[in-house]
């Protein structure tokens, strides 16, 4: 099989939904500018891109109408470039990468832009018209369960204390703040032009967070629970994009290869504890890559909630120093559809920056799934 590589990664700044600097920016504009930025940064000839595959968890309203094609037009890509919107909730844009990989493998083109977007300000989580199937709601309580409740379930099941979660959250904030201060995000962030000016920095990170401050918060989802707003990823606006292509294409076009995609996997799990999704998905992907957790030098594990991240780290036996080196979603935010491409692109970038051989990007998905990608240093 031909080697398929990640040859570029970029993202918009991430900002808190409704109160942040991107709340008044349309998500399609956000994605179009991010993709435009990726093309300029990598120097890829846009005419050679087969398709834009765009992940989005709530593809309606301003994110509706096959927003991927609209973004292609907005970004002034050549008319020949296609556009497809995919939805696997939080796993959407990682799925976009997996789809591109498959397409390239069957010879359906050489280069894909795999991106994600979510304005949680402008399209509410669960959409404008939540219409659950009443029979399923009765039969499978977890199917439509709020994510916070699943995080509580995981905490209970694994006996993860509030203190542990807060410790984890503080570390995530500290890592993200340190990365921001030392300019480590500058290379990946595409400045966004909005009606109210240019936005070029993340607005989500709270480097000054302390355990004392977190311990004063009220439980966010269950009055007797342990999960708070401080140990959950915030509602976020953002977009991300990666360039996925064959090694031959990258080399022939002089692109900077970040990593090779080694293996991918999907695995379903109980919806009530959807946060555990990464466990089986990662095991499957590592098995397909022929490695074990001990072989991983870089891990990007999406922090939907501290409780589920801790549970996954424990169950997978991940090494602490490899995990979310520049901070995770608790600090950076989690614009649902955009997170998959962010953590996969980030894992590739870190592998190149930090050295080592293998990286894992993995995340949990509402409704009970996990998704994982194993990368190898190019």
């Amino acid at each position: 099989m031909t080697d398929i590589v990640i040859a570029g990664y970029a993202r918009s700044p991430f900002h808190l939904a409704n109160k942040g600097d991107l709340a008044r920016v349309r998500p399609d504009d956000l994605a179009a500018q991010t993709i435009r930025g990726l093309i300029e940064k990598t120097g890829v000839d846009a005419g050679k891109v087969e398709d834009v595959i765009l992940g989005c968890a709530f593809p309606e309203g301003e994110q509706g109408l096959n927003v991927a094609r609209m973004v292609v037009l907005l970004a002034d890509l050549p008319i020949s470039v296609g556009g497809m919107t995919v939805n696997r909730f939080c796993g959407s844009s990682m799925s976009a990468i997996h789809i591109a990989m498959g397409q390239i493998a069957i010879g359906a083109g050489d280069a894909y832009i795999c991106a994600g977007l979510e304005s949680m300000s402008r399209v509410p989580m669960s959409g404008f018209n939540p219409s659950p199937n009443p029979a399923l709601a009765k039969k499978t309580a977890g199917a439509y369960m709020g994510m916070g409740e699943t995080a509580e379930n995981v905490a209970t099941k694994f006996g993860i204390t509030r203190d542990e979660q807060e410790e984890f959250a503080v570390k995530s904030q500290q890592k993200a703040a340190a990365a921001q201060e030392s300019g480590k995000f500058d290379g990946e962030i595409i400045a966004i032009e909005g009606k109210q000016g240019t936005v070029s920095k993340d607005g989500t990170i709270r480097g000054g967070t302390t355990k004392e401050a977190l311990s004063g918060l009220k439980p966010a989802f269950d009055k007797d629970g342990t999960v708070t707003a401080g140990t959950s990823s915030p509602l976020t606006d953002g977009a991300s994009a990666t360039l996925v292509c064959s090694r031959e294409f990258a080399e022939a076009n002089g692109l900077d290869i970040l990593a090779t995609i080694k293996s991918v996997a999907i695995s379903g799990c109980e919806p009530e504890t959807m946060g555990l999704g990464p466990i089986n998905a990662s095991k499957k992907a590592m098995e397909r890559a022929g490695i074990t957790a001990a072989d991983l030098d870089v891990v990007e594990l999406n922090e939907a909630f501290a409780s589920q991240a801790i549970a996954c780290i424990r169950e997978l036996g991940l090494k602490e120093e490899t995990i979310n080196i520049d901070g995770g979603a608790i600090a950076l935010g989690h614009p649902l559809g955009a997170t998959g491409a962010r953590i996969t692109g980030k894992a590739a970038q870190l592998l190149k920056r930090e050295g080592g051989r293998y990286a894992l990007a993995t995340q949990c998905i509402g409704g009970g799934q996990g998704i994982a990608t194993v990368l190898e240093r190019a």
Partner: protein
């Protein structure tokens, strides 16, 4: 209208008063420039004004009627932005009470303002002639005093003082703006110290404190005697001082002492107050400080206990309930004739305050009406001093003053045994200083049911409502029960009113002059029916309400509701069944039934849903309007102004707001008449609702709220019943739900609730304590 000559206002001084005045101007929809000084060492030169706006956005009670009103306030500072006064038609000065500083500012204002731009000061103490001393002719022509009361949004009084040189047209323009746009009652005051309300109010408070100390009256007794029986809010004297701040007393005393003419009776009240000085020095300045004459302390068994200061020892002790004998509670003559300390204290207060007020006719105000209005609207007295004198008898007051060898004010002699107010030919008249009766003439555009009632008899009435002819073919339906609660009698009267208008009249206005439009259905009556298990009676009442409201909605003539104050539950539903609402700005409306374990039962669900569905702000699809309706009704949200009621869609975008309470009826009548030509009743709405799919979505949200601890156990039960109505019951997205089907669902849900002992417990608790039971 003259008010429209003022299109932009500048307020200088962003303290409590200035900022509050700016907010009320913004509430009127007029842009304001709010300026203050540049704070030393502050990088942000507009920090003070900006801070004031930010603070107001968090304050409760809220100075702004909606958050968006705050956007009309532009902030700045007097060093960089004073020249922008050239854009403004009126400048309000509300800075520190120092003559030299004010005069310096005026000189700067004079340099930048357009000729004809009005300038007014919110001074409460400095005479106008001193303020304009040394200013040029043009400035003097444009200058007046507009004295607001705190908080400016809620207190209706503004005392307007015109100087010798003030241009009448300029002062009229400002007065008209205060009246129509800001909703204030303008009382003309003369250029004398403290004007009217504070002069009498300060005297009254000082006198009452002194007398309590001299006569061995406790603070509780003073407030029990000087409060309700005299028509004064129950805070009375010491409670009011706690509210306004005890530290204000010496300041007021100082300022009045330095400006009042020699021999003024106020000087008799001035004395050393060691207790009050000590309280202020120790930070016991009232509610804003560590405590006041009253304070709340944590009780041993949880909760809080009320303490009061012993005026002799200056120490706190547990508060002791005090009361006035029943027969003297409503009869002033009986009160001041009581033997013992209650009667003595009451007479000390009333005798002095009323004679002081009488002395001020001609000096502080032209007539008794101005003085009464000032005390009613500036101090929330139920009756003005002259209305109190009428209750006591002018002859009785004069006689008793004379017997005690005290001066009898001239106007009391003029009055003799005649009252200060009388009704003549259906008109209310007052006694002038010259001893003649003159009609109280309402300003143009003011129509009061109170006046109509003097001149006519109701066309029909029963125990809970009455129908009045308000002229030009328009009838008014008035609620008359306690708190204007709604019952079967009201429904009957609605039917009667519809018949009467149909018989050759043009339109109906639903209006009353109670403090609240209506608090909703009479729960006491409903509980009585519950206790005897008269379920069919309750069902009948619900049907009667639905039928009456729908009859209003589909009547062949315009129906306009004109609420002010609370319009809750059934009171809100009647608004939503009107063709138009002409709401007083201070209207507080909402569907609050869930709070007592019920669901709206008189058509409120369908009406609110259709308002939301027709709102251009709602995203499309079956869920957004329904979710919003569910959220608002299930949490019993109440709009905190008429403007907010529009934002929440209780009112429609083309419903109209009247700022001045006294103009509400005339505006509503005009609105009704404007709808008469070519009137056609509305078409029946058809709903497309998602049935069990929508219910599944709502149930998920409810169970999240329950987990979070926001919704109680029984909240979730009531919420599910409400959801059943709002989702259209057993319908499908492909089906249409008629208004009648929705009404049936509503009735069934209501009956299910009312039969539930947990609802009954909520209603009983509300009736007994006035507070919701969270079961």
């Amino acid at each position: 209208m003259m008010a429209e000559q003022i299109n932009k206002v500048c307020v200088i001084g962003a303290g409590t008063m200035g900022a509050g005045i700016a907010a009320q101007i913004a509430n009127a929809g007029v842009p304001v420039l709010l300026l203050d000084i540049v704070k030393d060492g502050e990088a942000n030169r507009n920090a003070i004004a900006e801070g004031a706006v930010a603070k107001m956005l968090k304050a409760d009670p809220a100075p702004f009627m909606t958050k968006s009103a705050a956007k009309l306030v532009e902030t700045g500072n007097i060093d960089d932005h004073l020249d922008r006064i050239a854009e403004c038609d009126w400048v309000v000065e509300a800075i520190v009470e120092r003559l030299d500083i004010k005069q310096k500012l005026y000189a700067r204002i004079a340099g930048v303002k357009k000729a004809g731009t009005a300038v007014s000061s919110n001074t409460s103490t400095i005479p106008l002639e001193n303020l304009v001393d040394g200013m040029d002719e043009q400035f003097r022509r444009d200058f007046l005093i507009t004295h607001f009361f705190n908080p400016p949004r809620y207190m209706r009084l503004v005392e307007v003082v015109r100087g010798k040189a003030t241009d009448a047209a300029t002062a009229d323009k400002v007065s008209d703006f205060l009246d129509r746009k800001m909703g204030k009652t303008v009382v003309a005051a003369k250029d004398t110290p403290g004007f009217i309300a504070n002069r009498i109010g300060t005297y009254w408070l000082a006198l009452a404190v002194n007398a309590a100390m001299d006569q061995g009256i406790t603070v509780e007794e003073a407030d029990a005697i000087g409060g309700r029986p005299m028509g004064v809010p129950k805070t009375g004297i010491f409670g009011l001082l706690d509210l306004i701040g005890i530290d204000l007393m010496p300041l007021l005393s100082q300022s009045l002492s330095s400006t009042l003419p020699q021999g003024d009776p106020y000087f008799d009240t001035v004395r050393d107050m060691p207790l009050i000085e000590k309280m202020i020095a120790d930070g016991f300045t009232g509610r804003k400080g560590k405590g006041g004459f009253y304070t709340l302390k944590k009780a041993t068994g949880g909760g809080r206990e009320k303490y009061a200061i012993d005026l002799e020892s200056g120490e706190y002790r547990a508060a002791r309930p005090a009361s006035v004998p029943k027969h003297a509670q409503k009869d002033l003559t009986a009160l001041v004739s009581l033997d013992g300390k209650i009667g003595r204290y009451a007479w000390e207060l009333l005798g002095h305050v009323l004679s002081y007020s009488a002395m001020l006719v001609g000096e502080a105000a032209d007539n008794v009406v101005a003085i009464d209005d000032a005390m009613k609207l500036g101090y929330n007295w139920k009756h003005g001093p002259f209305e109190l004198i009428d209750r006591l008898g002018p002859g009785y007051l004069a006689k008793r003053l004379r017997e005690e060898g005290r001066d009898v004010p001239k106007i009391l002699d003029v009055a003799g045994d005649r009252p200060f107010y009388r009704i003549e030919d259906g008109k209310r008249q007052y006694l002038t200083a010259e001893g003649e009766y003159r009609d109280i003439v309402r300003p143009e555009g003011v129509l009061l049911l109170e006046d109509i009632k003097l001149a006519s008899k109701p066309l029909a009435k029963n125990g809970s409502a009455a129908i009045w002819d308000i002229g030009d073919g328009v009838l008014a339906l008035e609620f008359t029960a306690k708190m204007n609660a709604l019952d079967e009698q009201v429904m009957k009267m609605i039917g009667k009113a519809i018949g009467m208008v149909r018989d050759g009249r043009k339109a109906l206005v639903i209006y009353n002059e109670g403090s609240n439009f209506s608090v909703g259905a009479n729960l006491g009556l409903a509980m009585f029916a519950v206790n005897i298990a008269a379920w069919s009676e309750i069902d009948k009442l619900i049907r009667a309400g639905q039928d009456a409201y729908k009859a209003l909605k589909y009547a062949p003539f315009p129906v306009v509701s004109a609420p002010a104050g609370l319009a809750l539950g059934g009171g809100c539903e009647i608004l939503m069944h009107s063709d138009a609402v002409q709401a007083h700005a201070e209207t507080y409306t909402g569907l609050v039934e869930c709070g007592v374990g019920l669901v709206p039962g008189w058509g409120g669900n369908g009406e609110y849903l259709s308002r939301l569905m027709n709102s251009p702000k709602m995203p499309r699809g079956p869920m957004p309007a329904l979710s919003k309706a569910f959220e608002t009704i299930s949490t019993a949200q109440v709009a905190k102004s008429a403007a907010q009621a529009k934002e929440m869609a209780f009112l429609r975008p083309d419903d109209v707001i009247t700022m001045n309470r006294d103009r509400l009826l005339a505006d509503a009548k005009a609105k009704a008449l404007s709808l008469v030509d070519g009137y056609t009743p509305p078409e029946k709405p058809v709903y497309r609702l998602p049935g069990d799919t929508g219910r599944a979505a709502v149930d998920l949200a409810v169970s999240d709220f329950h987990k979070k601890g926001v919704a109680t156990d029984y909240d979730t039960v009531v919420a599910k019943r409400l959801a059943h109505v709002l989702t259209g019951g057993d319908t499908d997205m492909q089906d249409e739900v008629s208004e009648d089907q929705l009404l049936k669902l509503e009735r069934e849900a209501f009956m299910e609730c009312v039969r539930d002992p947990r609802t009954q417990a909520r209603v009983e608790h509300m009736l007994e304590t006035g507070k919701p039971l969270r079961n």
